[in-house]
Symmetry: C2
Subunit: 335 residues, 2 copies
């Protein structure tokens, strides 16, 4: 298993500080959560059915015709590599590490490259995997460049190739919901796969829900590989409603943009000017990142540490008190 | 995708009868459901953590030391075939069809056999998959026979083989919770894999939760293949409580045994003497099974049809009114 944020249970044991005392900034999950209403009992008791309201809500929210709900984008990340024969795969690095891991585990030849190298050398690979905005660096690439890049790669997959064998461009847009106009989802055509996440923007990380936007042939193959009943009944019910709650979407976008710039200002005041980030987190390169993470943990604040380069990722504090607490803790540990 | 019960949405459209008018007897899910309490918001909003209360509850309920929670036994059925190189696999037939499908999809050589043939020829195969009680026929095999069978197969996997390459006996015990003393789970040792389901006994089919009981090396490999966060936060919370609710377990066992014998009597009175079944359903071989299924559907009663042989599976009616309704409908369609 790879290392991830959100392991509060481990921090509780490691630092001997009770769970309720922690401020967990170790994930990119928004603390401004969609409020979950009571669940109808039938959602728990019956087998989930895939002809409920979820797909229609998702088509409207993502602005697409073809979309497949999955048990978190993680489920798609793990399954996509199993739909192809052995391929040359390029994955952005640094980036969400499960991508390279899943392609390696499935026996492909994986090269990791920084974003600019990946874009420049895309035509050398059968599969290109990038993240926008990137996690943890916040890097991106605009829609026109990506469409041009993919058009240039088409010769890699011969015109006669099966849909599962031509050149793929996989774009993980788990953190793009604050900038819906920048999503590649509405531009998807054969060869392009866009992954969207519900957990981060809606603050519903426990629901394990994501969506794959791609051409119908690929979605059919993916659905077959994932098998029946991949999402729970309660998750289908909750996510269908959350995706349709447009007034909340607008308020959440405003909240995230404001909290993100407030966090960037706070970090900068403490000499931790972000090297990157997005509306959900900031990424700070710092030679003493490991020691800093430990020092914050002794103050019951959990942040995520990265190697290569040494860096920290700070998720958003959820309210004034949490901002003030981070402020005081950084003043103390950086004094 | 294979065909399954529980597709009420399709029946609603096909027969033009509104959803709330149906009596759905098309699954083996118990209608005597564990009552789900309100969910703490954090279960929805945080990433699930695998060091919560769930594994401990499962160890106690199943009476085992090593157990892995999975997103429904379906998730394990799909993943297990990917942990082995190409193997000779025998799967019970008739039986829950996803087993043979998953092994075929992963490229193995699959033979389907009736239960007695499977037990007699087990030593010809690297992997033997059976279901007890079997779905839909209710057939079984006792613990001593299974342990003897597995002991006899050990030469197939050389003593030096990796844990993922020796002879496996996979036993799907999705419907065994009314007879806990008959479960093979406490007898698991290297080579034996037991699948348990939460959906049927607890009436929590929407929760998508199951458990794999096996030796630690296999559970580690399976956990790695399934990746992080396979169960939702709300499901982890609900299932941990349901597995610990011993008073409810006893009352549910009593309810299921009584309802099952009441259903068998009712079917017998209508000339549909069950050819098999268990506490969760009855299985009736009938030359006109397809026409009978259709006739019941016109009365808004949904049952499951099987080919080879032509048969119906009846799940349990949930209360007196549902029993009376099935009684009246059978009288009408069999008149």
């Amino acid at each position: 298993m790879l290392e991830h944020g959100g392991r509060l249970g481990r921090a509780v044991r490691e630092y001997g500080i009770p769970r309720e005392a922690w401020l967990d900034l170790s994930t990119g999950v928004s603390p401004h959560v969609w409020p979950v209403p009571p669940i109808p009992p039938a959602a728990w008791h019956r087998l989930p059915e895939d002809d409920d309201a979820l797909s229609e809500s998702a088509r409207a929210y993502y602005g697409v015709r073809h979309v497949l709900p999955v048990a978190g984008s993680q489920a798609a990340i793990a399954a996509l590599p199993r739909l192809r024969g052995r391929s040359r795969v390029a994955v952005v690095e640094p980036g969400y590490a499960e991508h390279a891991h899943a392609w390696r585990q499935a026996g492909h030849d994986v090269t990791t490259l920084p974003m600019d190298g990946l874009l420049a050398r895309a035509d050398e690979f059968d599969v290109v995997v990038l993240i926008r905005p990137n996690n943890p660096t916040g890097d991106g690439a605009d829609i026109a460049s990506l469409l041009a890049l993919q058009a240039g790669r088409e010769p890699v997959g011969a015109a006669t190739a099966a849909p599962t064998e031509r050149a793929w461009l996989i774009v993980d847009e788990a953190f793009i919901d604050t900038r819906p106009e920048q999503s590649l989802a509405p531009y998807v055509r054969e060869g392009i796969v866009v992954l969207r996440s519900v957990g981060k923007f809606f603050g519903l990380a426990g629901a394990r829900a994501g969506f794959v936007v791609a051409w119908p042939g690929l979605l059919d193959a993916l659905a077959e590989a994932l098998g029946p009943w991949t999402l729970t009944g309660p998750t289908r019910h909750v996510v269908a409603q959350a995706l349709s709650d447009r007034a909340w979407h607008a308020s959440a976008r405003a909240w995230l943009c404001e909290a993100s710039s407030r966090l960037a200002n706070l970090l900068t005041r403490h000499g931790l000017s972000p090297a990157g980030g997005c509306e959900f987190f900031h990424y700070c390169v710092h030679a003493e990142a490991r020691a800093l993470q430990h020092a914050l943990a002794t103050q019951a604040i959990l942040v995520r540490h990265f190697d290569n380069p040494q860096a920290l990722r700070f998720g958003l504090p959820g309210d004034d008190e949490a901002f003030a607490r981070l402020d005081r803790a950084l003043a103390a540990v950086l004094a």
